[in-house]
Point group: C2
Chain length 319, copies 2
């Protein structure tokens, strides 16, 4: 594995054609923003480029996906964006796991699975890196690319709320707005719009709230039954992960979501120096310091017990 600079990554991309850009499974605004921004930029250079994902892209990002021509070609160059490990490609893209030519990512935990890699663990969003790569490729920005980059930054920083929203996130956001990004439309769609069923789901989930460890740990549960009763979709559960950590005194906020019978997807959000990635990595997961995830098999009760125990260990380490 070779570590590249931004300029080297851009130069490599400029020399390729028929480029497939892999996004991670359960796609969020950052991987989607990166995939579509990069492909739009590559197409402006006359290349064939197509973003692909093993899961459907959520409807909330339709302003990026609709009208973006689907190109079919024999892939000659494989790039991954915002993908920390090949397990995150999902089944649909796992065929590419040993043949990724270029990995562009911002996860410090990136496993170095590609031939060439550019990882900046200090970037709040991978879209900040993609923005620099596009500049280095010499492609001029337009409203579409600006929207895609802004989407990535806004999503991964929780709309500039999280601690990863640094000066660079804001200054690139300003630049993208000046390039035509429809920031108000994007933030309204992603952060200010809830379906009625999502609202109902949040009410039900909030009723499950439990505190542990002197109120330093808070856990919210989302069961499959809640989804079916409210008619909410899997993607409606996303905002819920940030609720427990918002409560005064809570250092580690946990959401336990029932994925399929017996499998629970855990989201961990931390503050005050607690390391979410450390909590999740002992259970086979990973992520960032302030936000990470893992999966646990069992019952709702046993999964909760397991993750609370891991969180308590992290609190003890901090003392």
């Amino acid at each position: 594995m070779t570590e590249l600079t931004i300029v080297q990554a851009a130069e490599l991309l400029c020399r390729q054609d028929n480029i497939l850009v892999l996004m991670h499974k359960s796609p969020d605004g950052d991987t989607v923003g990166c995939g579509y921004a990069l492909c739009a930029a590559l197409r402006k250079l006359g290349k064939h480029a197509q973003p692909v994902c093993s899961d459907p892209i959520p409807k909330v990002f339709s302003f990026l996906t609709e009208g973006f021509e689907q190109q079919s070609f024999e892939p000659e160059y494989i790039v991954s964006v915002d993908v920390a490990a090949t397990t995150l490609l999902g089944d649909g893209l796992s065929i590419y796991k040993d043949s990724i030519d270029l990995c562009i990512d911002h996860h410090p935990s990136n496993t170095g699975f590609a031939k060439n890699t550019y990882v900046d663990g200090t970037a709040g969003a991978c879209a900040q890196i993609i923005c620099k790569v596009i500049k280095a490729m010499g492609v001029s920005f337009d409203r579409y690319i600006a929207n895609a980059v802004f989407t990535g930054i806004a999503t991964d920083t929780g709309c500039f709320v999280f601690s990863n929203a640094g000066a660079e996130a804001h200054s690139i956001a300003a630049e993208m707005i000046n390039e035509g990004a429809e920031s108000a439309m994007i933030t309204r769609r992603i952060f200010e719009t809830k379906s009625r069923s999502k609202l109902e789901l949040e009410k039900m989930a909030m009723n499950t709230l439990k505190y542990y460890h002197d109120g330093k740990i808070a856990v919210i549960a989302v069961t499959a039954e809640m989804l079916s009763v409210t008619g909410a979709e899997e993607s409606d559960t996303e905002g819920i992960a940030s609720i427990p950590r918002q409560i005064e005194g809570v250092v580690i906020g946990i959401t336990v979501k029932e994925r399929s019978s017996g499998i629970y997807r855990i989201s961990v959000r931390t503050s005050d120096g607690a390391d979410a990635s450390a909590v999740c990595s002992v259970l086979g997961g990973g992520g960032h310091k302030a936000a990470a995830g893992c999966s646990i098999e069992g019952t709702l009760e046993s999964a909760t017990e397991t993750i609370v125990a891991a969180a308590e260990k992290e609190l003890e380490r901090l003392q």
Copy 2:
């Protein structure tokens, strides 16, 4: 009333001493950020300057108020920041209403009550203007001033979610972070921290949600009883105002809060071109296009009926 430029406002301030800076009643992060940033800058020029408000400053802004020396002097120059009309000074400061020397504001509805005025209705936050005034005064930024300016911008843009979070808001935010602003601490305190009682209050308020006009209007009620049952404070009701507008399909989101027996404080939030200020101004209130407020006397039912009727008129105007 004379309309000034930023430079003229800065020059005027540089010539004064013993400056009293008036903030609006029910202080929010923008008026507080402006008041403390401006006074800190004036003090760096060796002047006496004191921010004052007719209501207590909420504890969430203690990182600005604590340790900020209280100066007592005979005021020689009176400045108001983020105050659209003298009625908003509150009883405690109404003695100054006819003697305000300089008004710095970003409300297009500013009534022009001061001898000299600088109003920029396009600024998302008044703190963006204060930042420019401080620069024009030749004062160098420090962490304290950067924190105060960042607080103003983050508060008035709903942490960069609202449509008023333009390129300037982001670029000044980036600048303030580079000047030392503790953005993560500030956004966490203001947007990511809820007391348990606030969480309970939100749950109860969400249960009152009602839809009108084909789901284009949504109304949430907060009664005095809810506050007493949950132990929540008046300031805990603030985030609730943004909930109804977040619901898919809702164009006008309304919150009806019981202030004292028979008086209801109404918050209106709009999207898709609807004018919140127009809805509220017919009832004696005002504000911005996307966010405005007014007070209505009556019962919860009659106040709701009145504001819904005003909102329906605005929807009809839009057709």
